[in-house]
Symmetry: C2
Subunit: 424 residues, 2 copies
């Protein structure tokens, strides 16, 4: 078993250790919730202040040109593309994940309908992130489709000739289990379905090869592993083979071929501009660009492959230490042990007390989060995200030590840790 000294040694040898200095983290906090809201890059305050004071304040309307605001969705999109295996000019940063999912699922259904109008089912997992299911449910209602929800092991049999689109989140928000994207795309395509991927817990967390792996559509989140700040804009990717046929009902003026001609009829722009709708929230967009730039600072050190190696070492270590040092307290590891099936988080479950244990840890400065379960197959979850940019091996040791103390002392049973509240 690794000792504290071992962990300190791993940090000392970590070639990515210097990246931690690119973030501002509060004292006394071990932050294992970057999968919910990424930490703040140290460069963010100055860049956001510049956008506020110098660009908005001094340039005013002129900043759309002089400060490059117009180009931000494409410019940032091209940077994110490098993190998810997409080409330049294929991906755009805009709107939120739910809105973007609506766009790509609309487009996927429209395109599927052109060749296979008899396919009337959207297939997804019952344990997918709920907003994905709500958006799919709403769109199915709108278009007269059926949303079919399955468990992961039912995928192959469920992909029948009724399925128009398979919509999956690559890394499950609760369990951290990861789908093999290339295989799933191949199975779906063989069954005649298009694929829509939600990369909320993948982009910036695990290597993604959208184009090489044959995905059709993808969206992802800006404020988790991309460290773009609270509610930062999300992104849209469409495989080039579908780009010209992409159509979505959020046909706002920013997706128009010539928005400043102010013509009364809609004519979609070529390329990624077509995936836009309206004016973007620039201050939040600036935060996103800083976050993405900070992640790209890892490129000279090996980029996503190097980050992935460290992420797996961190989650391996966490699993090992929890089992070795917190045994006998009823915790189970929910996240797959198989590296190929694991995202950048570790989820634990426990018969009871999951919520309170997370609160007790937060009170000690170890910030993870709790996710409510539903039924015996989907238990309550204690969720810990490991962002290799700023989480170290000694952090893992200390987090587990706090967890051990919380369990040993029974402090999680205090009333203040058992009051309901909301967490993203």
């Amino acid at each position: 078993m690794h000792t504290l000294q071992d962990c300190q040694g791993l940090d000392a040898q970590d070639p990515l250790r210097a990246l931690r200095d690119l973030f501002t983290l509060p004292d006394g906090v071990i932050y294992l919730d970057g999968n919910s809201l990424g930490a703040m890059p140290a460069a963010a305050p100055a860049r956001i202040a510049q956008a506020t004071t110098a660009e908005w304040g001094q340039q005013l309307i002129r900043a759309w040109n002089t400060a490059g605001w117009f180009d931000m969705p494409q410019r940032i999109g091209n940077k994110i593309a490098r993190l998810v295996g997409a080409g330049a000019g294929e991906l755009v940063a805009t709107d939120g994940t739910s809105v973007n999912l609506f766009k790509v699922l609309s487009a996927a259904l429209t395109i599927a309908h052109e060749t296979s109008p008899e396919r009337r089912v959207v297939l997804s997992e019952r344990s997918n992130f709920p907003t994905d299911l709500y958006i799919a449910e709403a769109l199915c209602k709108e278009r007269g489709y059926t949303l079919r929800l399955i468990e992961p092991e039912e995928l192959v049999t469920a992909l029948d000739q009724q399925v128009a689109v398979l919509m999956l989140t690559q890394v499950n928000y609760r369990t951290g289990a990861m789908h093999p994207m290339s295989q799933v795309n191949a199975i779906a395509h063989a069954a005649g379905a298009l694929t829509v991927w939600d990369l909320a817990h993948s982009a910036g967390a695990v290597p993604v090869a959208l184009k090489a792996d044959g995905a059709d559509f993808a969206i992802g989140c800006g404020y988790k592993y991309l460290n773009g700040g609270p509610g930062a804009p999300a992104f849209v990717w469409v495989h080039p083979r579908h780009a010209e046929r992409f159509w979505q009902p959020l046909a706002g003026w920013w997706g128009h071929a010539t928005p400043f001609d102010f013509t009364p009829d809609y004519r979609p722009a070529p390329g990624t501009q077509r995936y836009l709708c309206g004016t973007q929230p620039i201050l939040s967009m600036v935060g996103l660009e800083v976050g993405v730039d900070t992640l790209l600072a890892a490129e000279p050190l090996g980029g996503m492959a190097a980050l992935r190696s460290k992420s797996l070492a961190l989650t391996d270590l966490f699993i090992e230490l929890v089992e070795a040092r917190c045994g006998g307290h009823g915790l189970s590891v929910v996240t797959p042990r198989d590296h190929a099936r694991r995202g950048s988080q570790v989820s634990l479950s426990r018969q009871d007390g999951a919520y309170a244990i997370v609160q007790a840890l937060i009170a000690r400065g170890v910030i993870g989060d709790y996710r409510k379960g539903s039924g015996p197959r989907h238990p309550d979850i204690l969720r810990f995200g490991f962002t290799p940019l700023y989480v170290g091996f000694e952090d893992v040791w200390n987090a587990v030590e706090h967890l051990r103390q919380v369990l040993l002392s029974g402090e999680w049973q205090r009333p203040e840790f058992n009051q309901a509240h909301a967490v993203t």
Copy 2:
């Protein structure tokens, strides 16, 4: 005719003059483009820096509760409600105008369909802001409706028994002409249609009485007269009589009754939460709150009624001085002279050179904007917005003096003022 001295006297007597100090404006600029991007409140940089450094940076995920991020859409919405004649708990700040228009138009069509399924037309103006027409066109295509576009004087006859929804922008973005909201609602309702209002150029610009005037649905923009910063979130209002039947396809988790139960099926929340979709861009939302707070600082000085008096005095003065001092240069006033039909802008047209004249003015520090025309009825426009919070009477004098010099000298004919570019 007013003299420069008269204008200075009007500023000296202006009871709203002190509000100008609540904004940071660049030296040497007369800003007449607050109808495109409102100026920066002086309080914005510090508040945005706090949200970045102290909230995101130090509180991290906890800020959703500790910094009140969760409540922002409703909290800011309730503040905006005071500016547009809506009640508390009826209006919410969220997403962009195009996305919000999609939501309320969807809801309006669904509600109209319940009682009058035979009505299959959305009625709007050909000169409405294009994104409104694009969204309506897309939704009509999606739902099998027809978008019927008319000129304003055709309104009464066009409101036949086929019209389900009348969708109008209260103040026209090009001409500044304002619809009498109460009358139009009465006419529409008498004809059996619901009304959807775009308040992009009304909210914070003219007194609006959504509820008293009987409107059904409204959306509006956060970055124009609300001074919320570039691309700031927009807002949604629904008359309480429709709130319980509101349904829209952007059914994301933030609109769910219990989002943190993570249930796979969508159950819309009661109240304004139902109008939300996903996580909001918090840094941009913070900018919006500062902007709205700055506008509400006028409440003790008479609020929107006092701002409206000053706005009309400013636009009256501008029209008078343009006609008196820039006569013989081919300019026409497009904006209605009738106060009841005028927004907070003045639009001029000219046979040619509109774009170049605007560029020449910008080079002199007088920032208005240009809007491209389409056909003889809709000529090219030189557009000047008057935000009474920070525009003074001497500013109007000086702006007209610059315009006179640009025309007299012919400097607008220089090549550098005749290169095409994009402006919002």
